[in-house]
């Protein structure tokens, strides 16, 4: 292998090329960005294909079936294959069976998870003693937010007044999250610019 090839400039050239191609969208939609977009979509689809093939089909279906003789894995295997029945109109309806299994079991898990793991603990943590401004603000914030999202009655009179307090809390939270998201995106941007200037071109330290 020639020596120049091991130079970071050439080693990182594909990464830098696609980074710049994506940044080119800031000017306008262009062929380089479209190419990067399609490469990214293809790699992502291939990534999930390879990952699922190895971690699910090979490890959870093929190996238990061939090495341990677990014939029961044929049931989810066949159900999984039925997912592809949608490509054949005559048996297309059978794709509903695996879908119903996944959605039904997910609904069962979600039902317990949401009530036991989310609603009860969150309500429990909100039932605070009214001995500090912090606790009072948390209780008022939770209640007014819940009332703001209660749309079964028109927000007029007392309900409207409480809902408007809720809007105030919600605006603070949305503003804070907006600021937080901006900071996260900017730190990613700094990382990419550092990659281009420090790792790839070596013009900055």
């Amino acid at each position: 292998m020639p020596e120049w090839y091991s130079h970071p400039f050439f080693l990182l050239l594909p990464t830098a090329f696609f980074t710049l191609a994506i940044f080119s969208f800031l000017y306008k939609d262009n062929p380089m960005f479209k190419l990067a977009e399609h490469v990214f979509a293809g790699l992502s689809a291939g990534y999930y294909f390879g990952l699922i093939w190895q971690s699910v089909i090979r490890q959870q279906v093929w190996m238990p079936l061939t090495q341990d003789g677990q014939w029961s894995v044929l049931i989810p295997g066949v159900l999984g294959l039925l997912m592809f029945a949608r490509f054949f109109p005559r048996i297309g309806w059978t794709t509903r069976l695996p879908l119903a299994f996944v959605i039904g079991s997910t609904a069962g898990i979600m039902f317990i998870q949401q009530l036991h793991g989310m609603v009860l603990p969150q309500v429990g943590r909100t039932l605070l003693p009214l001995d500090s401004l912090r606790n009072i603000l948390i209780i008022v914030g939770v209640l007014t937010t819940l009332i703001y999202f209660y749309f079964s009655k028109p927000h007029t009179g007392t309900l409207g007044w409480i809902a408007s307090v809720g809007i105030g809390f919600i605006m603070v939270a949305f503003g804070a999250h907006f600021g937080y998201t901006v900071m996260a995106r900017v730190s990613l941007l700094i990382g990419r610019v550092q990659f281009l200037l420090v790792d790839w071109l070596g013009v900055a330290r």
């Binding site: 979509a41 093939w53 119903a100 069962g108 039902f111 603000l137 948390i138 209780i139 809720g166 503003g175």
Partner: protein, 206 residues
């Protein structure tokens, strides 16, 4: 048969998961454990279906000589190389699959997200004009959190980081909690509707 059988399957699998919670260590629990493994497998196949569907759509574009066929061809090549290397050589570190992920896919992903910083900035310009009390509150909260998270904020006023922390841990957390409780109640009621066969939109038409 075409719609009753899937509804029955959804009911049995959903009810089994709920019963398993109340019957820890019993046969129901063991059966639900097995059903969970099966769910992972069937769910995995659905992800495969998604990947194959993308390839199928772009293959059609190439076959029908669509104006974007060259981009679709690139997508298909990337899909075959990445997916094929994962299937043939495995996904461990040092494989082609891993190299493509580390060198191309992961940097592209973070670049895609970093581009959003510019779009968020332009959205902020439009949203942050304090034309009403609500947007003024939004503006103040966002500015305080942003300044409180950078070293410059501390130079402007040493108390800014603690103000930002207070916003995140008191009003913001209270709202998050309210939204979480509401969303969780909604998700639980939707789950119940699915298990009882009231909600059938996932079956599609026909």
């Amino acid at each position: 048969m075409k719609s009753r059988l899937p509804v029955l399957v959804a009911f049995i699998s959903g009810a089994l998961m709920i019963l398993a919670f109340f019957g820890r260590g019993t046969v129901v629990d063991a059966v639900s454990d097995r059903a969970l493994t099966w769910q992972t497998i069937v769910g995995g196949f659905s992800l495969l279906l998604g990947a194959v569907s993308i390839a199928r759509v772009h293959w059609k574009k190439v076959a029908t000589k669509h104006e974007d066929r060259l981009y679709s061809l690139c997508l298909l090549i990337c899909f075959i190389v990445m997916g094929g290397s994962g299937v043939i050589n495995g996904i461990g570190s040092g494989t082609l699959f891993d190299t493509l992920f580390q060198r191309i896919q992961a940097p592209m992903m973070s670049t895609m997200f970093s581009v959003l910083a510019f779009f968020i900035a332009s959205a902020a310009y439009r949203a942050f004009r304090a034309r009403s009390v609500s947007s003024a509150i939004l503006l103040v909260a966002a500015v305080l959190v942003m300044l409180g998270r950078i070293p410059m904020g501390q130079y402007i006023y040493h108390g800014l980081p603690s103000w930002a922390d207070w916003i995140m841990t008191v009003p913001s957390m209270a709202v998050q909690r309210g939204i979480l409780i509401g969303a969780a109640l909604g998700a639980a009621s939707m789950s119940l509707r699915i298990i009882l066969g009231i909600e059938r939109t996932y079956l599609g038409r026909g």
